[in-house]
């Protein structure tokens, strides 16, 4: 008589041979180590990194490299007891000076040298440029990192679940984005002291939306793709699919968006000063320096250059880093 054998749970035990399943060659280098190797092989990425690090270094120490403070007005009294203020001095880098004034740099103001010249209050622009860079970098980094976390999660979740969830989440976005920023900021300023943190909060409130829109669009594009379906069939949970499977594949546009958020954050900070919200004078930022320079653009044209050049170099650096990261994070077959 034949007996039907019903398998019991104990029949299946894991062999104690995990090495069987491991591809040693692949696992010997961790994911991040691979990314790093890829990144540093890319020459442009390295140049970008150097530029950005240099700017960060100068922002950190540049304003204390000479004898001027960012708010010091350089002046002395002449024999008639009148003040002579070192304002509106063109850059004293010989080549630049010649370009703007058509003449060789004359004697310095006293024994001082103003590498980038001075502003129309008589303050050293070298010091103020790097001081401004410090303020702007702080504002830009803090807001962008927080925005990226909030915006990306929001957009990915909204796009992944779709339907009612998406509908409600998108309406919230619309409400948040539709109230003009100047209105939100003015109201916010009643409840918070004005200053750098108010600027950061104001930027946080609106800047995450762009990021969430990109993330959502990427999600919509990606979620119907085969590997997502495969992952879902294999029983992966939503969190895993969103953040481990899809996120790395959407990193490209997000990095581009992050980079373009930097100048936006810097200029928005300066724009907020129209409603009287912004960093308190005599502090400065790259945005306010550009605006100050703009007010005198035909009469003192060199004033606007240092902040714009710093910003442009920063962006160039970030673009190179961004490209490097994209390639390193999502390596294509031929790169392996």
């Amino acid at each position: 008589m034949e007996k039907t054998y019903t398998p019991v749970k104990e029949d299946f035990t894991l062999l104690d041979r995990q090495d069987l399943y491991t591809d040693k060659n692949f696992a010997s280098q961790s994911y991040w180590k691979g990314v790093a190797i890829h990144f540093f092989k890319n020459r442009r990425a390295v140049i970008g990194l150097v530029i950005v690090l240099l700017i960060i270094l100068f922002a950190a120490i540049g304003s204390s490299l000479n004898e001027f403070g960012y708010r010091d007005i350089v002046q002395y009294r002449n024999e008639n007891n009148k003040r002579v203020v070192a304002k509106g001095i063109a850059p004293q880098i010989p080549a630049l000076h010649k370009l703007f004034t058509g003449e060789e740099p004359e004697g310095n103001f006293g024994s001082y040298t103003f590498l980038f010249g001075t502003d129309d209050l008589g303050r050293d622009l070298w010091t103020r440029t790097w001081y401004g860079a410090r303020v702007s970098l702080l504002i830009a980094f803090v807001t962008i990192i927080i925005d990226m976390i909030i915006g990306m999660s929001y957009g990915l979740i909204s796009g992944y679940f779709g339907g009612m969830t998406d509908n409600i989440m998108q309406r919230v976005v619309e409400v948040a984005n539709s109230v003009p920023r100047l209105v939100i900021v003015s109201v916010l300023a009643i409840f918070m002291p004005k200053g750098i943190w108010l600027v950061i909060i104001a930027l946080l409130l609106t800047e995450w939306i762009g990021m969430s829109k990109i993330a959502r669009a990427e999600m919509l594009k990606t979620k119907e793709q085969e590997y997502v379906l495969a992952s879902r069939t294999l029983g992966a949970r939503n969190g895993h699919i969103i953040f481990r499977e899809i996120l790395p594949n959407t990193i490209g546009p997000i990095i581009t968006q992050v980079m373009f958020s930097i100048p936006t954050a810097i200029f928005t900070e300066a724009f907020l000063s129209f409603v009287g919200v912004g960093i308190a004078l005599p502090m400065c930022s790259v945005g306010t320096l550009i605006e100050d320079g703009f007010n005198n653009i035909t009469t003192l044209p060199y004033q606007i250059l240092p902040p714009i050049i710093v910003l442009a170099l920063l962006m160039l650096g970030f673009n190179f880093i961004g490209d490097g990261l994209r390639e390193a994070l999502a390596p294509k077959l031929e790169d392996m």
Binding site: R71, I73, K82, R83, V85, K87, G88, D120, L121, G122, K194, S273, F274, V275, G276, G278, A280, L281, P282, F294, N295, N296, I297, T298, T299, L300
Partner: protein, 549 residues
């Protein structure tokens, strides 16, 4: 890429074809406005630019001559009763540009309307002009407009009755608030449309409105051939253009787009250094004075610290006003050491400027760091406190130089007064005013412009409980002096009144109720060959009736 260039080029060529020959009549004068014209309705206009355009198009009873004195315009002559309370104006023959004659009723209608609507400048009728019945209508306690003591016995006679004699009453008549509006025309328009287009606006003045819409950045007026004094007007018209920045104004002038522009700060400096531009530069008084207001109430300034006169004097003496105007404002503004700024109020008996002597209060105000330090020591002893931290508020939309001045003041004060810290806080002008009116500030960088040519336009501000007394300062002696000047003992004795006002000013300065900073000037660039623009610090900043190009 080639294709792209080709497309761009063809777009350019297409555009070049669209260039129509609408080049402006060369005989028009191109004039810069600093801000948009807010309204052409005399009841609603509050800014100098609006007043200027209104005055181009409408004449009042009186007008300003080139020195700012009141001379007859629509009124051929006027009589004053012996008690100084009744003015009778005799109107000349003049026409609105729709052909109807200007009558005394046009004034009655316009003035009643001002009182009824009770706008910003309604106070010219009651507080300044002291017209009988005005105060009741403006405050809303009297609804019957006929109680305003203005009347038109016939078409050519206009009579006004006052509560008290007002020595400068005729000179108020050139202020746009007192201009006429044709009742019949006004009533024929839909509600809210008066003065919003050339069709809905009537002129009786030197120019008629040619193109205008509310909010526009450019508008034009053209010569009025039916003006009663048409022979005097030489210009074919004026093109007004709102210009947003001083730098842009300079380029627009160089480009000959505009004939008359105002520049400030660095652009004045640049113009001075340029040989051809320097010849075109003309500095004129703008009238208004910038000053620091100190809140003296308990709830502000670390528990009312600024109620201490020595502390206020210390701050006032720490500021180098010459440095402010020479290095930062740069447009010819005058460092000011009196509570009433110079150049707008001259005595009608002696002709002397009320504030000609800027050294009058040199014991209390002036740049003197040592003295400032002494005042500070005295204040520290009196208050039992060694360090002070105050916030200074200023408007971010009140001219390029304001934030430079604010920063320079901070540096001066902190240099001269160890232990005193000034934090700058920028805000919109609206918010600054709001904070001052609600007494929610420590120190404010603020300004006041004269509405009429009498020192009282300033001194009246510091009377106890006056709504412009932002420091909440109060002094019985001062109040008494002002009361005597406006309604009491000195009202009919011109020289005694003048002396009393001087005494009152001394009290303000002794106590440093405010710290005067500078009296604003305008640095104008005017194209060579353009002559005869009358500049005034009060009421009408620019008048073009005698202008030639």
């Amino acid at each position: 890429m080639k294709k792209l260039t080709a497309i761009l080029l063809s777009i350019m060529m297409l555009l070049a074809c669209v260039v129509t020959a609408s080049a402006d009549d060369a005989s028009y004068l191109g004039v810069m406005l600093g801000t948009n014209v807010m309204s052409l309705d005399t009841n609603l206009a509050t800014d100098g630019d609006s007043f200027e355009v209104i005055a181009d198009c409408i004449d009042g009873l009186m007008q300003m001559d080139k020195d700012g004195a009141a001379v007859p315009a629509l009124a051929e002559s006027y009589d004053v009763s012996d008690d100084g309370l009744t003015y009778t104006f005799h109107l000349r023959d003049a026409k609105w540009n729709n052909g109807t004659p200007v009558t005394a009723n046009d004034f009655v209608f316009a003035w009643r309307r001002i009182a009824k609507e009770a706008g910003e400048y309604a106070y010219m009728l009651d507080e300044i002009g002291n017209i009988k019945g005005a105060a009741e209508i403006i405050s809303g306690s009297e609804a019957d407009l006929t109680t305003l003591a203005v009347s038109a016995p016939d078409d050519k006679t206009f009579v006004v009755e006052l509560n008290v004699p007002v020595s400068f009453f005729p000179s108020l008549m050139y202020f746009p608030t007192f201009y006429p509006i044709n009742e019949e025309f006004y009533n024929s328009l839909a509600d809210g449309t008066y003065g919003t287009s050339p069709e809905t606006f009537l002129s009786n003045g030197a120019f008629v409105l040619e193109s205008y819409t509310p909010g526009t950045a450019n508008l034009s007026v053209k010569k009025n051939p039916d003006y009663w004094d048409a022979d005097r007007v030489k210009l074919a018209g004026i093109n007004y253009q709102v210009v947003g920045s001083s730098d842009n104004a300079l380029t627009a002038f160089r480009n000959k787009t505009l004939d008359v522009v105002m520049v400030s700060g660095n652009q004045v400096d640049a113009a001075k250094k340029d040989a051809t531009l320097a010849e075109n530069l003309k500095v004129t008084g703008a009238g208004y004075m910038w000053y620091l207001s100190f809140s003296q109430t308990e709830k502000n300034a670390e528990g009312g610290m600024l109620a201490n006169a020595n502390l206020r004097l210390a701050i006032s003496n720490a500021i180098d006003r010459e440095n402010l105007v020479d290095n930062y404002v740069m447009d010819g503004s005058l460092a000011t050491y009196t509570a009433v700024p110079p150049q707008f109020a001259a005595s009608s008996t002696t002709g002397d400027d009320f504030s000609a002597n800027q050294d009058a209060f040199i014991d209390y105000v002036g740049y003197n760091p040592e003295k400032a330090a002494e005042y500070l020591e005295a204040a520290k002893a009196e208050l039992g406190k060694d360090s002070f931290s105050f916030t200074m508020i200023y408007g971010n939309n009140e001219g390029d130089e304001v934030q430079k001045v604010a920063q320079a003041i901070k540096e001066d004060v902190e240099d001269a007064l160890p232990g005193v810290e000034i934090n700058l806080q920028s805000m919109t002008k609206a918010e600054r005013l709001d904070k001052m009116q609600n007494d929610n500030y420590d120190i404010a960088l603020t300004r006041w412009g004269p509405d009429y040519a009498d020192p009282m336009t300033y001194l009246g501000m510091w009377v106890t409980n006056n709504s412009n007394n932002y420091g909440f300062w109060s002094n019985a002696e001062f109040d008494q002096l002002i009361a005597d000047c406006t309604t009491g003992a000195y009202i009919s004795d011109y020289d005694a009144r003048w002396e009393a006002m001087f005494k009152a000013e001394r009290i303000v300065m002794q106590e440093a109720v405010i710290a005067p900073l500078y009296t604003k000037a305008n640095a104008n660039l005017i194209t060579a060959g353009v002559e005869g623009i009358d500049f005034h610090p009060v009421a009408l900043n620019r008048v073009y009736k005698d202008t030639t190009k």
